[in-house]
């Protein structure tokens, strides 16, 4: 089976529901299955990237830790919407994961290259 280009478009804040963690789990499995996986954090999804999370405080898995596993599963195409970061006052040094900020035009091009887009 050919590897597909699969983009995970993650737009949900980390603790509003289980969706953020579950979507990251799905991305990790896509990595295990050797697909060409990219991840784009956008809108409230960029909050998943913020350093210093401690899910244990509300008896939840720490989303930031799940997210940090992405590079270990050979998922290295990690992006964040530049506009979403700016709107929330987030700088790259505030983040727990190294991501490449993308302009809206770059996001448009990223989407065009995909076979499938999975949302959270």
């Amino acid at each position: 089976m050919d590897a597909k280009h699969i983009l995970y478009l993650l737009r949900k804040s980390p603790y509003s529901s289980s969706n953020a963690v579950e979507a990251l789990d799905s991305a990790l499995v896509a990595g295990v299955f050797e697909q060409n996986v990219s991840v784009l954090f956008k809108d409230d999804g960029v909050w998943q990237l913020l350093d210093g999370q401690r899910g244990a405080a509300i008896e939840r898995r720490t989303v930031g830790n799940v997210m940090q596993a992405l590079p270990q599963y050979d998922i290295e195409q990690l992006f964040a919407c530049e506009v979403s970061l700016n709107e929330r006052g987030l700088q790259l040094e505030d983040l727990a994961l190294t991501v490449k900020p993308l302009s809206l035009e770059e996001q448009r091009k990223l989407i065009t290259r995909q076979d499938a887009v999975v949302n959270d």
């Binding site: 737009r11 809108d43 989407i111 995909q114 076979d115 499938a116 949302n119």
Partner: protein, 86 residues
């Protein structure tokens, strides 16, 4: 191939429009159809049963094209990828 954007909430519409290319198609379904009741500066498609259920038939401008599920499938055939915004 052009992208099909599937929007099922009004709040997600702007995020979609920010990255949709001119030749992409934007289809509003479920509560996304409320997004067609306000002025949007691009061509939109709306899913007919979702418009009808919400009593919006007369409130959707003629610039938004109303389609059924068979036409929805035809759109999926001619677009890739399909991006869901919710």
């Amino acid at each position: 191939m052009a992208t099909l954007h599937l929007v099922n909430s009004q709040t997600a519409l702007q995020s979609c429009l920010d990255v949709a290319a001119d030749d992409d198609s934007v289809l509003l379904i479920e509560d996304g159809v409320y997004g067609a009741t306000t002025d949007v500066a691009r061509a939109l498609l709306v899913l007919a049963p979702d418009v009808e259920a919400r009593g919006l038939k007369d409130r959707i401008p003629s610039t938004a094209e109303s389609i059924d599920y068979d036409q929805f499938v035809a759109l999926v055939e001619t677009h890739k990828p399909i991006v869901t915004w919710c």
